[in-house]
């Protein structure tokens, strides 16, 4: 029987296609759907997949910034219309569940005879209210569906509907106008029995260097906010190392995949088995790179070293809160000092870390919030750490959601866990407002601090660390109270009163994501230091000067290497100037030393009053590179105004330094310096207006 599986959409942004595409960078067709397709195929069925994210990206790429949410929805519906499979199975996650439900309605409208099934983490935990609210949904497959989906298809294949379906465990379905919930299916004890996910159904698989693979399922912990236990339950299971390596090898041989996101909520629970996995990888001689998720109290330095040696390049650490008090309340129970040490250790072994934090817990007080944002900012000292701060979303059927189910409020302040676009579709909002039980993650639990305050703190801290990483650390060091800084920020805005542009007065997420915020923040800090509401420290003043110097830089167009004329081709008659997008300036303080102090957490009084030269290199689509220049480098660049030829610059350099060296040696040194700086992208050489002289046309390559 043919079945059509539809992924859970994650792309909704239509505001700026380029940014959306870069920000999403989906890792490929969703792993869960690929797993189910493989299981269905193993049982003799014919799966096809509609990858909604792939469709969204295609529409965004082809239509540019004219795309609307309606365009995306239309493209999704068109894809549904093109299938004639008798079973349509929608995967679901909380953030796009309203859209999934609407698409399921369209599927039923287009194919009234088809059996419309939902599955995945969200539908699993809201099976009864979903079926009660949305008559176009025929059934929901709860939990792991690797065995139960094929059983359901078999049942439908025998005779459409009911009699067979009634015997399929883990299914909630309709019978005689009633919703029937069959008993749970047994967990799949031996995950090694599962087939390789059907990557052949990912149309872009041959272009992917990186894919997701499953390591195992089940988390033995019971954090109050987490939904993992509802789907995979608490029984910890791992695939054997040989099976995982076998899958990696197959994907490498078939498609050239070299990077793997190894999915398991809590891979490192069993240290012995992590060691076993790493050793199997090492013995195999494979050079795959992989990343995974772990608890900070289930790793140690030796284990991290071994994982890194075996190819682990990234770890997600769910720290959740920087408050020791809340760690206990949410049943996470991490030692925050040890958590910090794990991040430090992973960084030292060359791994990137994602540090997940949540704010907006019902019991969260001001001190707890302060601790969490301080942990967030402290984590940015590690340049390879990516802290993430989310608003709590009461995920359906989690302990927190159950406890506060009757007190949930719909205040239109969404967690980024629930909302992935910039704005909610009004049709989704209508569904959300009518069905709180089904869409609880868009609601809020009651909080001690005002929700709007918490949400704006989150935006503020996220934005300040993104725009001004070192500045945020300097502010923390100087004040030891970033909430105080935030309160001063609110006061500063209030003092400006009415009359400011709307983009400033609303201070929504888009404001914090814009460079309007960046300019405002610098103006605020400067004023606050002057007025005494923030400490007047040398460090803050210096970092402020640095950030201001970079804030207004406009990226220069990207220059193709071939369009640049090198010294060897331009001859000594070519004129030399700073490359487009390069800004050189000096500071009267030791900027590199200051940044190093902030990285290492040294006290800032340790930095010296030693002047330095830097160059900022800006190119469209690339981060600004800030480089330190030696005194002589800076001096040489100063001669490169675009007016003088190479030969004239050599003469000037020689005149300026004639007292300290042999003229020929100085010229040679300067020539090498110019060539080096040109190759590093700091200088560009304009074509000579005079013909090349033969004695300079030849080139030699020298190496260091």
């Amino acid at each position: 029987m043919q079945i059509c599986l539809i992924t859970a959409p994650t792309i909704f942004d239509c505001v700026h296609p380029d940014v959306t595409i870069r920000a999403h960078n989906p890792p490929g067709t969703q792993l869960g759907v690929l797993c189910l397709a493989a299981s269905a195929a193993k049982h003799g069925h014919r799966p096809i997949i509609i990858d909604l994210d792939a469709i969204a990206l295609e529409v965004l790429c082809s239509c540019g910034d004219q795309v609307t949410a309606d365009d995306l929805f239309g493209a999704f519906v068109h894809a549904l219309a093109c299938t004639d499979a008798p079973l349509l199975g929608f995967s679901s996650i909380c953030s796009s569940y309203p859209l999934t439900v609407r698409l399921a309605a369209e599927a039923k409208r287009l194919h009234p005879e088809a059996y419309v099934v939902l599955g995945g983490p969200q539908a699993t935990v809201v099976d009864l209210p979903t079926l009660e609210a949305f008559p176009w949904v025929d059934a929901i497959v709860r939990g792991e569906a690797d065995w139960t989906l094929p059983m359901l298809i078999d049942a439908l294949d025998e005779k459409r509907m009911t009699s067979g379906v009634a015997r399929v465990p883990g299914i909630t379905f309709r019978r005689d106008g009633r919703v029937v919930r069959n008993p749970d299916a047994a967990l799949i004890a031996d995950l090694d029995l599962l087939p390789l996910p059907a990557f052949e159904l990912d149309p872009k698989i041959k272009n992917r260097k990186s894919v997701q693979l499953e390591l195992g399922r089940g988390c033995p912990y019971g954090c109050t906010f987490c939904s993992t236990n509802d789907f995979f339950r608490r029984k910890f299971r791992l695939k054997s190392p040989d099976v995982v390596l076998g899958h990696m090898n197959q994907l490498h041989e078939r498609y050239g995949v070299t990077d793997f996101t190894l999915v398991h909520d809590m891979f490192t629970v069993d240290r012995k088995r992590v060691v076993e996995f790493a050793e199997v990888l090492l013995e195999s001689g494979s050079e795959y790179q992989w990343n995974c998720a772990a608890r900070t109290d289930r790793v140690d330095d030796d284990l991290l070293a071994l994982m890194a040696k075996a190819g682990c390049v990234g770890i997600f650490f769910g720290v959740e809160t920087g408050s020791a008090r809340l760690q206990r309340i949410i049943d996470k129970g991490l030692d925050l000092g040890a958590a910090w040490e794990a991040i430090r250790s992973a960084t030292a072994h060359g791994m990137k870390t994602s540090v997940g934090l949540i704010t907006g817990f019902p019991e969260e007080k001001r001190d707890d919030l302060r601790d969490t944002i301080h942990f967030f900012v402290q984590a940015t000292r590690f340049e390879d750490a990516e802290p993430q701060l989310s608003l709590l979303a009461p995920l359906a059927d989690t302990p927190i959601e159950k406890k506060y189910r009757d007190q949930l409020v719909f205040d239109h302040i969404y967690s980024d866990i629930s909302q992935r676009g910039w704005r909610e579709d009004p049709r989704d909002l209508d569904l959300i407002e009518k069905h709180a039980r089904v869409f609880s993650s868009f609601y809020a639990v009651p909080t001690l601090l005002p929700r709007r305050y918490i949400a704006e703190v989150r935006d503020f801290v996220g934005a300040i660390t993104f725009w001004f990483r070192w500045f945020s650390i300097a502010l923390l060091d100087a004040t030891d109270d970033l909430l105080h800084v935030f309160d001063e920020w609110l006061r500063w805005h209030a003092d400006r009163g009415q009359g400011v542009a709307q983009e400033r007065s609303e201070r929504n997420s888009r404001y914090y994501c814009s460079n309007v915020f960046a300019h405002d923040l610098l103006a605020f800090v400067e004023g606050a230091i002057d007025s005494g509401s923030l400490p007047d420290t040398k460090c803050l003043r210096n970092i402020l000067e640095y950030e201001k110097a970079l804030c207004d830089l406009e990226p220069a167009p990207r220059v193709e290497a071939s369009s640049s004329t090198g010294i060897q081709r331009a001859s000594l008659q070519g004129r030399v100037r700073k490359a487009q997008g390069v800004v050189v300036r000096s500071f009267t303080f030791d900027l590199p030393g200051l940044l190093d102090s902030l990285r290492c957490g040294k006290t800032l009084s340790q930095t010296e009053d030693r002047s330095c030269w830097i160059a900022a290199i800006t190119r469209t689509g690339q981060p600004i590179q800030v480089v330190q220049l030696s005194e002589e480098t800076a001096e040489l660049i100063r001669f490169c105004s675009g007016e003088d030829t190479v030969e004239q610059i050599l003469d000037k350099y020689c005149d300026a330094n004639g007292a300290v060296g042999n003229p020929q040696a100085l010229k040679k040194a300067a020539l090498v310096g110019l060539a080096h700086l040109h190759e590093q992208g700091l200088l560009e050489i304009l074509p000579s207006t005079q013909p090349l002289r033969d004695d300079h046309a030849d080139t030699r390559r020298c190496a260091a």
Binding site: D13, D265, S354, I624, V626, T633, V672, A675, A703
Partner: protein, 57 residues
């Protein structure tokens, strides 16, 4: 043309300039540049992205 490659830095200089590897290394040190920071100037959609782990919820 003479090409030498030691380490990974290769620069091109006009003819008439002869350099030993040691001499060149000293000059590159003299005109050194060192990356000390990098900053994004892109629109900040990044903070709107959910943590990796939550892709399953």
């Amino acid at each position: 043309m003479k090409k030498e490659s030691v380490k990974e830095i290769t620069i091109e200089v006009p003819s008439g300039v002869t350099l030993s590897a040691e001499e060149l290394a000293a000059l590159l040190e003299r005109f050194s540049i060192r990356v000390i920071d990098q900053k994004s100037h892109e629109v900040l959609l990044k903070i709107k992205q959910p943590p990796i782990k939550h892709s399953k919820v």
